[in-house]
Symmetry: C2
């Protein structure tokens, strides 16, 4: 199947999306036409073969992860997805393009971000997918930035960390959309800052510290670990957790769980200064920005 | 330079975009935050190394084409760009990522679509760029679809066709934003349908016919050709012209030029029926959908 045949199949399959929700005109024309009142969140992420997934991943897993990664960015702002645009630069000879886009379309709908458009190209490989998601912020709290943590905040995470790649969780995680909405609704302005954990607790917490011009101190013993994760260092370094790291202002009550029973753990605090450290029981402090998952060019 | 260093450089360079135009919060957080009142146009296109450009193209040309391809889709709806998101999946060992994103950012601003966000990944190659553009339709005419051509319309093109790849024009074309706005403003509802010519006049005119459920007949002698283009077949097949093909209702005057002197040529008409043919002087009719530029998978 060539590119334009495939694009046509996709637009035929998307005919039911015209006039649904934000999508005034869906795939099939030069552009989609959308109605996006109020503020709009916009993000795009890559999914690259042999880097973000390997030959053991099913087409369904690949499609799910491609969409979920970008949805997780919307969750990190406490928003909800509205619609998506997807691209697939498919490896020459890859014969399952139609199935891949069918699964992308299905996961996009499941994650509240129906596909409004996209593009297909062919290359010698690897296959490179991108998913752009447009979303809307929480209607009361508005977008929750990473740059607005304040001295005195508690630093919290949802769920447990570590071992995502070796366990396969990185393929089948559920972006924390509902949890983030509930935090924004319940805490309001006391939810001071938020980020999703894609590159590991260490590096991502350091980003909050840098963006907010504060110091973040994390208690190594408090970092919640998945079963099979040996120590705090693994939990803070492995990456691809897609949990939420968020800050709660002094005086506000931190919920013990959110969503359908996702635990919340207070792991540290925001203080005056700069940088992000993880402090062990004996008092040894480790630079968090040096931990975490990073591919170098 | 690794990915997160590069992303940080990009967000630092984009600091002036915060609060400018539609961009409430620009690059540097989990998502951009945009204000997009009214209807929004959304499109995404690929630019793939060794397919859409080769080793002779400069970094500036690559960046320009990556942005211009998507801007041309906005022009095809008679819209204007508002902002963009870009991804670069860069070939391992490619050391000019910072320069490439600087040029992408610069061209995006030049084409009225400042970069509000993006993502960077590394792969064994080829380099794959995507540019998502959000735009706004013409305030009076609204989005001009490809599916609304009507029996009796004249079929017109801007500029001249053919030879784009061999001449290098495919790298340095100017998307017909101003021309499309002027057509929409001047013709209103008499501008019945429009598309940009990316895959060649033949295939793209056939798309308008199919989407509109009409027949398009093009007079081979009237197809405007660039110097060095030998015949109508080359002009209709070469592709990557990025000119506008549009339809004008019976009774409305077709302007002889638009924008800063871009010529307009009536090349055919819309009749009852199906398909798209190019008719030679002697009367021989050629199926237009079989012409044009296509990579097969």
């Amino acid at each position: 199947m060539n590119e334009s045949d495939l694009l046509e199949r996709i637009s035929e399959r998307s005919a039911h999306l015209h006039g649904r929700g934000a999508i005034v005109i869906g795939p099939g024309d030069d552009t989609a036409v959308l109605a996006l009142p109020g503020l709009t969140l916009a993000t795009v992420d890559h999914l690259v073969e042999d880097r973000h997934y390997d030959a053991t991943a099913s087409i369904d897993d690949i499609a799910r992860k491609a969409v979920a990664r970008s949805v997780s960015d919307i969750a990190a702002m406490a928003g909800r997805p509205v619609c998506a645009l997807a691209t697939g630069c498919l490896r020459e000879g890859f014969t399952r393009g139609d199935e891949l886009f069918e699964r992308l379309s299905s996961w996009a709908e499941r994650f509240e971000a129906p596909l409004a458009g996209g593009d297909i190209a062919i290359s010698p490989g690897p296959t490179v997918l991108t998913v752009t998601i447009l979303g809307r912020p929480h209607e009361v709290r508005g977008p929750v930035e990473r740059s607005t943590a304040r001295e005195g905040d508690r630093v919290c995470v949802t769920g447990a960390l570590g071992g995502s790649l070796k366990s396969g969780r990185h393929l089948r995680f559920s972006p924390r959309i509902d949890e983030a909405s509930e935090l924004a609704g319940g805490l309001g302005r006391a939810l001071t800052a938020m980020i999703d954990l894609s590159d590991g607790l260490g590096r991502d917490a350091a980003r909050v510290a840098r963006a907010s011009a504060v110091r973040v101190e994390i208690d190594a013993r408090r970092i919640p670990r998945h079963a099979g994760v040996n120590d705090w260092r693994e939990a803070a370094s492995d990456g691809e957790d897609y949990e939420l790291l968020f800050c709660v202002a002094e005086g506000a009550a931190v919920p013990s769980s959110v969503g359908a029973g996702t635990p919340v753990t207070v792991i540290g605090r925001v203080v005056r200064g700069a940088g992000c450290v993880i402090i062990e029981e004996g008092g040894a402090a480790h630079d968090a920005s040096a931990l975490g998952w990073e591919h170098r060019a």
